[in-house]
């Protein structure tokens, strides 16, 4: 396309070929695993041990090291899923379809974790497990969107058709993403406003911010690992009758 360096274009072009993707992601996996373990170890140690307690909440605030990165991931993965869906719809690239549907369960899991950890924190801090304010409600809708995508995909037998349907559903749901992010600014909510993701300087002390960002990067790597693993399985299922897979199986004995 335009404005994209040639080498990047070539990389994506090669990745779109199933045998190449399968081999490359297999080689990548151990590295991703090591980086994830290092980051999550550093993030958890920094967040649970090194970071000071909060002036108001004491140690209870430490749940943000799981809650906030999970909530970020729930939005990030949805955007990735919708973007892969568009690429699948427009260019009919099989691998984009596979990446889109493989993202959904990971995103659903992160959304669920964000909702549960928020609820656990809400009881002692707010005084309630759940309220129907704009932020909490829109995040719950996000969970239902993920579940809807997964259900729709498994309801249609022809996986190429299923992928198109899923991409359209994912696109319709994209409208929810800015609503979730800006809900705390557009409306009065019980949920507090953004601490880090705003134009201003973050309203969190640097000693608490560093482990938080480390966890956010660690979760990105977890997403890559979980999504690629699912994509490889999905690819094997879809390509079970293909020549390259038969050759691969023969060569591996």
């Amino acid at each position: 396309m335009f404005l994209v360096p040639d080498s990047v274009g070539r990389f994506f072009h090669r990745m779109a070929s199933p045998p190449h993707f399968y081999a490359f992601s297999g080689r990548l996996m151990p590295w991703l695993g090591v980086i994830f373990l290092l980051l999550v170890g550093a993030g958890l140690y920094g967040g649970l041990v090194l970071a000071p307690p909060d002036y108001q909440q004491g140690d209870s605030y430490r749940i943000i090291y799981i809650h906030v990165p999970s909530a970020w991931m729930s939005l990030f993965i949805y955007v990735m899923m919708a973007a892969a869906g568009v690429i699948g719809l427009v260019w009919r690239i099989k691998l984009a379809e596979i990446v889109a549907i493989s993202s959904a369960p990971v995103g659903a899991a992160f959304t669920f974790i964000a909702l549960v950890t928020g609820s656990l924190w809400g009881k002692p801090m707010w005084g309630t497990w759940w309220v129907w304010d704009a932020r909490l409600t829109s995040e719950l809708i996000l969970l239902f969107l993920y579940l809807g995508v997964m259900a729709l995909y498994s309801a249609i037998d022809d996986k190429r058709v299923a992928s198109k349907a899923v991409a359209i559903l994912a696109l319709v749901g994209v409208v929810n993403i800015p609503v979730i992010h800006y809900s705390v600014e557009w409306w009065n909510t019980l949920h507090q406003g953004p601490t880090v993701t705003k134009m201003d300087k973050p309203s969190i002390h640097i000693s608490m911010l560093v482990p938080l960002l480390t966890m956010a990067v660690a979760f990105k790597f977890y997403y890559l690992i979980a999504m690629l693993q699912r994509a490889r399985t999905e690819l094997l299922q879809r390509e079970r009758n293909s020549q390259w897979l038969k050759k691969l199986l023969e060569s591996e004995g």
Partner: protein
Amino acid sequence: MRPIKKQRLLLIALMLAGIGGAAAFALKSFNENLMYFFSTTDVVSGKAPGDALIRIGGMVVNGSVERPGDSLLVRFKLTDFNRDVPVEYTGILPDLFREGQGIIAKGRLNGQGTFIAEEVLAKHDENYMPPEVAATLKPDTQNNAQ
């Protein structure tokens, strides 16, 4: 790009614009209902319904919290730094409840303009800092609150 792909991309863009527009109008028309609470100025100026179950939000006024007798009854004033509303609540308050803290109370107004709360929730702000840092900031925030 081949024409057919351009066309697909255009269709997707149109779909997104349509859904975005519809969602924007829907949210705009439900704007009032999506507000989780009224401000204290809304209550004093009569914008909030007088006899219905509503939520009001604001800061607990410094020095206004009193506990008459040895029951669980608490009286305090809520403010949005413009108008104050006196609140009465009987029950256990959340951990974060204190003077200067933002809270949300659910209940009804009585005839005298006092808000009788059935439920009090603490609204946490977005600031996180170690106690030492908070201590150095203390005089500053108190000046802002007054």
